[in-house]
Amino acid sequence: MEFEAPAVQLGAIGPEIALVTTALLLLIVDAFIPEGEERWYLAVLATIGFGVAIILAANQWGERELQLARMVAVDNFATFVKTSVAVFAVLTVWLSRDYLKRSEDEESEFYALLLFAAAGMMLMASAADLIMVFLALEIFSISLYVLVGFRRRSLASQESAMKYFLLGAFSSAFFLMGIALVYGATGTTNFYPGGGGEGIAGYLVSSAASDVDLLVLGVGLLIVGLGFKIAAVPFHMWTPDAYQGAPSPITGFMAAGTKFAAVATMLRLFVVVLYPLRADWRPILIAVAIATMLLGSVLAVIQEDVKRLLAYSSIAHAGFVLTGLIAANDRGLSGSLFYLATYGLTVLGAFAVVTVLAGRKERNVTLASYRGLFYERPLLAGALTLFMLSLAGVPLTSGFVGKFLVFGAAIQAGYWWLAVIGMLASVIATFFYLRVLVVMYMQEDDRGLQPAITGRLANSVVGLTAAATLVLGIVWGPLIDLAERATVFFA
């Protein structure tokens, strides 16, 4: 029997290989360090791993092909997402270094899981086959389940990990059912035509939408699975609990990275591959987006825990990004990419401030513990002010530009009313962002803020993200330009 081995171009997944190798190396190195010794070089090793991954990913800029038996798309879009995720992850590592020193948790496993999660997110961005999407999704999900429960002695952390895990596995089952139905309808799991098959995109063009009932049902279930990962209403129930219980640096990484990876897959799948089917998926996503924007903003108003407040804010932001996706035009694509890249940096910064202030065992995370913050730590309060204003979408911050782009795209596509609802939700959201500011600046601290143990690394993360938030809000041109060039897909 003739057997032709497929050509293996490992360069296509070079960044992911770099991350996984580093993770394994970390675990081995850690085993040889005697108990009780300083482990700063683990963080250095993880940083080097991400550095290599960023370089390898950036090298793929400009390429446009399907590799590894047509499983992985190498294009500007994937490169943009991969680089952003790696940057988020590096910032998380630096933040975690000080966090872990304070909480005395194991470091090597933490970084290794973070590396695995980032590798999964990167793979997700370039997945060109539903099998690949599923594998990438599970790689980062399983890593995150463990990371969420990493504060082993905290009941809240255990509870949030359990909730995240059970609901995550539940939604994965729906996602898989969706894939099975799509496969049954189209006879393929691959996105693009070629290599002896027509792919989902090719199928939609060829059969001229004669019998797509099964396919639409499958796509609906795919929305359930992906909507869960981006925390869209009504699949958002896990978000506040998981965000509250998880270690703060991980919460920031989940908000930034998971959202980016899952929306990236949605952009590739819906806007590019399933574009001919848009009359079917658009109404579902519009309903989801409206519910997400409004419910996320309204429920955040009553929160007393800062992490929970930011969790609801992250739900609302998922809705804002979806408006760019629903627009399904070039502007919507580049707008969503810009939005997620800048939102990721801002939300990481916000959680960096939360991490610094939380203290041991994360006790100081209530809004009340932020009273009079400005008078005790003016720089941190200033940075948090900037992040809150950016999340609210105030001009001169990156959040404003992002919102402007996605709402602009929706208006261009004729969904002006969706943009109006989005702006309305933003106004509601502004209320609770301002509430944080009021607490920081206008209320007296009556019990004395516990001195937070901080390190230079965590502070530098706050500084870097604050600078990025401000600079990208004033000089947005280059990043928008990059995001526009990143809408070159393999198609």
């Binding site: 539903l130 099998i131 599923f134 594998l135 599970e138 399983i142 389940y145 463990v146 429960g149 082993r152 009941l155 809240a156 255990q158 509870e159 949030s160 990990a161 359990m162 909730k163 895990f165 059970l166 596995a169 539940f170 994965s172 089952a173 729906f174 898989l176 059912m177 894939i179 099975a180 139905l181 496969y183 049954g184 006879g187 393929t188 799991t189 691959n190 098959g197 506040p240 609990d241 509250q244 219980g245 429920l299 009553i302 929970r308």
Partner: protein, 101 residues
């Protein structure tokens, strides 16, 4: 055997799984119900794979991937169950109510 028989079987299994996830108290039983849902997906994939014949290979491969990933997932899930059992002496899902709204 018509394809629809197998699809109905898979749909039934999937529904039983969904019911189990929603109705069961014990975390391990919830896990088992999720496994039921995943196996329903496997049955679906293999039925479609046999039905499609010449383009049927991805379905079978996919089923294998699901089995492998489900095993990894259950590994993490049972670890969490043990962790929670150590602290609370029970693993009822209803008891996980430290955080609400």
């Amino acid at each position: 055997m018509p394809l629809s028989y197998v699809l109905v079987l898979a749909a039934l299994l999937f529904s039983i799984g969904v019911y189990g996830v929603l109705a069961r108290q014990h975390a391990v039983l919830v896990l088992l119900s999720i496994e039921l849902m995943l196996n329903a997906v496997n049955i679906n994939l293999i039925a479609f794979s046999a039905w499609l014949q010449d383009t049927g290979v991805p379905g079978q491969v996919f089923a294998l991937f699901i089995i492998a990933v489900a095993a990894a997932e259950v590994g993490v899930g049972l670890a969490l169950v043990i962790l929670i059992y150590r602290n609370r002496r029970n693993v009822d899902v209803e008891g996980l109510s430290l955080m609400k709204w």
